[in-house]
């Protein structure tokens, strides 16, 4: 049974009607630009998925796992991140969308293409929707996480956009302990912005998560993320620490993962609440 059928009932017409309804009438005029293409494209992808495929899920949307796809497997991932509650700007709100296609090149190496990262941002002075970047991501598994050993992988990403360029590297670790998993990601990131790419900054991130799988299909957990920014690669900006719970569900050929993050430091220019939703469908 795939996502497009439920209790034996074909859900495709309902999903399409739902997408059009959200698109045409439920949203205020101002928001139409955000949702105008999102739902029809997303549901067209769902319609296209085959039934009864395996799915390589994520147990938390804020951390990567050193688990790579099986050779030849292709997956579509839809990301939505909502950021809000910034003390320095009460009107601040941002939606980030990512359309990603992942491909298992070998059993231990996968590539991903961010077809488009685009954003809708509202601040006290403006509100606009804009394309941000496209990207290529590669994950090479050094050691698979399983009961015998610590899982390890290398992650690299290149992002390019209008007046934006970014390089990102990660070390991914995971220890599987029966139904409990421990995850750690170390990230280092270099970013160049501006007309001449002359505004540069660096970022170091430590992310930890613990998850529990009561059944193979369901994962619950908690994560903590500690970010440190280095504007101009010179002095260190304020640390930002966020924590939150997560829940993931894996089904036939699709999975969903959602997690809020609450800022526990007191940095006025950073959002106090972020929620990320990931949906993956296998081809």
């Amino acid at each position: 049974m795939g996502l497009t059928s439920f209790m034996g009932v074909d859900m495709i017409p309902l999903l399409l009607i739902l997408s059009l309804s959200i698109n045409k009438s439920w949203r205020p005029q101002r928001r139409q630009s955000v949702f105008q293409y999102f739902f029809p494209i997303f549901f067209l992808v769902l319609v296209a998925i085959p039934k009864d495929a395996a799915a390589s899920s994520r147990s938390t949307p804020w951390l990567y796992q050193p688990r790579t796809m099986t050779k030849g497997e292709v997956e579509y991932e839809q990301w939505v991140t909502w950021k809000t509650n910034k003390k320095s700007d009460s009107r601040f709100e941002e939606f980030r969308f990512r359309h990603e296609i992942e491909w298992g090149v070998t059993d231990a190496f996968q590539l991903a293409f961010y077809v488009a990262d685009w954003r809708h941002k509202r601040t006290s002075t403006e509100e606009h929707t804009y394309f941000h970047d496209i990207a290529v991501e590669a994950i090479y598994q050094l050691q698979a996480p399983n009961p015998d050993q610590l899982g390890m992988a290398l992650y690299g990403e290149v992002k390019y956009g209008s007046e934006f360029f970014e390089l990102e590297g990660k070390l991914l670790f995971e220890k599987e302990l029966d139904q409990i998993n421990l995850l750690y990601n170390f990230t280092i990131e270099a970013e160049w912005e501006g007309q001449d790419f002359d505004e540069d900054k660096g970022k170091i991130e430590n992310a930890f998560a613990i998850t529990y799988q009561p059944t193979p299909a369901l994962t619950i957990g908690a994560q903590a993320i500690w970010e440190i920014e280095f504007p101009d690669w010179s002095e260190q900006a304020d640390d930002v620490v966020s924590i939150g719970p997560s829940i993931s569900y894996l089904s036939d050929g699709w999975w969903i993962s959602v997690a809020p993050l609450f800022q526990v430091t007191n940095i006025d220019t950073e959002p106090d609440l972020q929620i990320r939703l990931l949906i993956g469908v296998d081809f």
Binding site: A54, S56, T70, A144, P145, P147, D148, D178, P216, D252
Partner: protein, 104 residues
């Protein structure tokens, strides 16, 4: 800071005491002495292919009947295993379950 370190130390002590070898026992710990190569392949498939999507489930959490009727066929299909891999992983799971019956 001290409290955090103590909590982390206690947590890792707890984690260190977990016996993960029982999740998917090594073939040389089983009573079976036949088809060792096939059982090794079955264990390799079990701990490396199943974990592409989820944790390796402790085999003895489910009965032979549940493995045969509810789990194995569906998982083999979803994982797109070859015929050889399917036979090997089925034999390995059966060997682990039979072994646990002998031990208990």
């Amino acid at each position: 800071m001290c409290k955090i370190l103590i909590t982390l130390a206690l947590f890792f002590m707890f984690v260190g005491c977990m016996d993960v070898t029982k999740v998917a026992p090594k073939v040389n710990t089983l009573k079976t002495r036949t088809n060792i190569a096939m059982l090794e392949l079955g264990r390799d498939v079990y701990i490396n292919r199943c974990t592409k999507c989820h944790n390796a489930v402790r085999i003895t959490r489910y009965s032979q009947k549940q493995w045969d009727n509810e789990i194995m066929e569906e998982m083999i299909f979803k994982s797109k295993l070859t015929h050889e891999q399917s036979i090997a992983v089925t034999a390995y799971v059966r060997a682990v379950l039979e072994n646990s019956l002998i031990e208990n």
